[in-house]
Amino acid sequence: MNEAWNRFAQENGGDPVIVGVGANYLEVCRRAAASGDPEAPKALEALESVLEGRTQRALLEYACHSPSRVRWFAMTVEPFKRPEGGLVISHLDITRRRRAEDELEHEREELTHALRVTTLGELAASLAHEINQPLAAIVSNAHATRRLMESATLDRGEILLGLHDIADDAKRASEVVKHLRALFRKEHVDQQPLDINDVIREITRLLGKDLERKRIWLRLRLADDLPRVLGDVVQLQQVILNVVVNACEAMADDDLRDVSIETTRLDPGALEITVEDTGRGVEESELERIFDRFITSKAGGLGMGLSIGRSIIQAHGGRIWATRNKDRGLTMHIEIPCPGT
């Protein structure tokens, strides 16, 4: 036991008799395990496995947060090579390394979030505003003309102006929708040859920790003979990300949480991506409607992700559709042509 250990034990309120020189570390761990320390059983198992010769070396990383500080340690357990037996246990403070890892993870989360909200999400919000403005004007004008017609003076001129404005505003709302469609037409697609498997791997890397936390098991079955797709990597990534996030959110309250992403080569010259979940799914009659509605079952969602997603896939000459799984959940299919393959 060195100076650092003693200092550490004291800072943590450890009784020198219990954790100091001459104390039985096995006993210390047993006592900690009995008192409900979640890390102690793991440490105990490491100690016993080396002591009983089941393994030559055990390594364990554990959190040991004192009231004032967050700390992480790596514990190494090796046999003490003397006739009387025993163990050599060393603890290494790895707080700095863990903190760096946590920061990296945090950055990843922010990036995932930023990707989600600044592209499809932001677009959806600004479109919602663009459409909402003329709708608000239409509603006010309709109420105003109704009031004017009910009033004794019956100001015909004002009523006609109101009706005229209603027609104009309705036209304007429909222009916004037309503009939205134009946004994803072919001429706006950046044509780059890309490996769709790479796009999917990038998405799963981004979502990795998030899925782990939600206890969602993600399976990848990526075909290795995929032809390259000509398309816009950002747009395709957005669509697939949106579909995967939807799949994960559909399972939020369920106990079985599996998402599998599969890529398949289709002949001639096309590929298919399927995203299968074990979530609550949708009714047969709703399968088509999920692509064109602006409302959503999700709290706070705009529900425009899939309708924009379909426009993007169509701009790539492909199609996107949904099927119900036999047992439970939904499978989204994306088919994209790969010209010249």
């Binding site: 909402n132 403005q133 239409i138 004008n141 105003a144 109101g162 505003d169």
Partner: protein, 212 residues
Amino acid sequence: MSRNLNRAPTGAGVVYVVDDDESVRRAMARLIRSTGLDVETFPSAGAFMQRKVLDRPACLLLDVRLAGSSGLDLQSDLGEAQRGLPIIFITGFGDVPMSVRAMKGGAVDFLEKPCNDQELLDAIQRALARSREGQAETAERQEIQRRVDSLTPREREVFALVVTGMLNKQIAGELGAAEKTIKVHRGRMMKKMRAESVAALVGMAQKVGLRP
């Protein structure tokens, strides 16, 4: 300005509509006019700030998502001037933190766009009622202040001591003057203040923050 303390500013209310969207402004104006209220519209918060607010009941219908200055900035810019000008916030996306800030800043209502006409008109009526109250209070405060300003330094000293509940004899002792002199000052002061009783005078002192 009326010299009578208890009369509120008269006249029908006016609604100021600030929205960056021309069709929304036109439609809102038409709807509000159809109820017999006066309306004025402004394309930006800046344009509204240039407007000299009239001395009549008024409220502001403000789109939170404004080009240039955000609706909440305008609310804080108005500050004290806002007393007589309640704000109804209109938003296309009623998010909670923004609503809370607006409410704390003194917004009377927070309506989502497009809003139900009855809801909007009710909100306008509430805002105008509050504006009337606010303007009546302001007018009353200004009138009391004018009366206070008309007092001589000696009368002001007497005023400050009368509202603490002192008798003439005590005031005379405090100011080092004869009781008879104080009585004269007190009589003039009560007359200038148009206070019929000490209680009425204390009420006035409180309204202009002169009560110790």
